[in-house]
């Protein structure tokens, strides 16, 4: 079976660095050092790209794509979702309270602080999770994840944070460090029949083509979410992209907001500290 042969070859190739790395001792987690190394790597991979542009993914690293994007952005395709999100955000719940009551600063200009580690519950809280917890706390049904109204509300909240740099904190709490480590491990772990990790495409192959697309570097990649993806013809959240990316490497995806995905978002967002929010965004 050809796929099987390819997989065996992939294992053999992947095993080579393993043989060399066997003498590694497990180092204590140092997120700040990881982040510094991550950013230095991305900046040296793309020396002509200013820091603020890393939130524009493929358009930061490919000139013809950027030209098309600039044309599209004269009339952003997420405009309709943005309007829907603003209207929904401002409309009170049946009990008279509204989304603003669940968030600091009434929910305006705070997207760049998500996800955060909730020391009370010992878990990573993403914006989508917070939105649905707000709804449930006020007697409303939670929204389905990945697309639709939750993406529209994400879009509005992201828009109010446009230009604000990612500011993710890892509190001095072993559970937060563990969540960060889980996210980091997920990012670098190969999965699926195609045996790719997130890093395979978004670190090693960043800026290169994957069929007709240009791969965005992982540094800053979440800054543009939620995105209107032409491929989808609709809005999508970070969850939507995680599940579809996993499927694309032929790995059975987890449910939206699975702990693995929240921890991954935590790791990726922390790595991107300093990159300004460019969401909502448009992608091919």
């Amino acid at each position: 079976m050809r796929a099987g042969h390819l997989c065996r070859l992939a294992f053999a190739v992947a095993a080579l660095p393993g043989l060399i790395g066997l003498t590694h001792a497990a180092a204590k987690a140092d997120p700040a050092a990881d982040q510094h190394a991550f950013q230095v790597y991305a900046r040296s991979q793309f020396p002509a790209v200013p820091l603020a542009d890393f939130g524009n993914g493929p358009y930061a690293v490919n000139a013809p794509m950027r030209k098309q994007w600039e044309e599209i952005m004269q009339f952003p395709p997420y405009d309709f979702a943005l309007d829907e999100g603003k209207a929904a955000f401002e409309k009170p719940f049946a009990n008279g309270r509204s989304y603003g009551d669940c968030f600091p600063n009434k929910g305006i200009g705070i997207r760049q602080t998500f996800p955060y580690f909730d020391t009370a519950t010992g878990e990573v809280v993403t914006l989508d999770l917070a939105i649905n917890r707000c709804r449930e706390a006020n007697g409303e049904k939670p929204l389905p994840y990945q697309t639709g109204l939750i993406a529209s509300i994400d879009a509005y909240m992201a828009e109010t944070s446009r230009g604000k740099p990612f500011d993710i904190k890892i509190p001095d709490d072993p559970r937060a460090l563990a969540a960060y480590q889980d996210g980091k491990r997920f990012f670098y772990t190969r999965r699926g029949q195609l045996n790719f990790s997130c890093a395979s495409c978004h670190v090693q192959a960043a800026g290169q083509r994957l069929r007709g697309d240009i791969l965005a570097p992982a540094f800053g990649i979440l800054a543009a979410f939620p995105i209107y993806r032409s491929d989808w013809g609709s809005m999508g959240t970070i969850d939507r992209r995680f599940t579809s990316c996993n499927s694309q490497v032929r790995s059975v995806p987890f449910k939206p907001q699975d702990k693995a995905y929240r921890d991954l978002e935590y790791f990726l967002s922390y790595m991107s500290n300093g990159v300004p929010i460019t969401g909502p965004g448009a992608r091919p």
Binding site: I72, Q74, F75, P77, D79, F80, D83, G233
Partner: protein, 104 residues
């Protein structure tokens, strides 16, 4: 009901550049929903732009045009402050119209 038409028209020399984004499902009639049932065709058939009583651009669309269509063109004439009227009708008889001012 909020307008489905967003338009930006800019006068440049002796012509006017126009861009418009129209919110419409543009269902072809060939796509099935998650239950396996065909989503009925629902698409814009005619889109017109009028300036100074004359039609300056007509689009005759059909099921091949994608959702939330975007159109861009230029026409001779038009100056800053003039009205540009945009109208569409679809295969179900629905319609919308909007008037925008030419800028520049």
């Amino acid at each position: 009901m909020p307008s489905t038409i967003r338009v930006r028209a800019v006068a440049a020399g002796d012509s006017t550049d126009v861009q418009a984004l129209i919110q419409h499902p543009m269902d072809s009639g060939f796509v099935k929903d998650s239950d396996g049932k065909l989503i009925p065709p629902h698409y814009i058939e005619v889109l017109t732009f009028e300036h100074d009583g004359k039609v300056v651009f007509t689009a005759l669309w059909g099921p091949a045009v994608a959702k939330d269509p975007y159109v861009k063109f230029a026409f001779k004439g038009g100056k800053s402050g003039d009205d540009l009227k945009v109208s569409w009708t679809d295969n179900l008889g629905k319609s919308d119209t909007s008037v925008a001012k030419i800028m520049g």
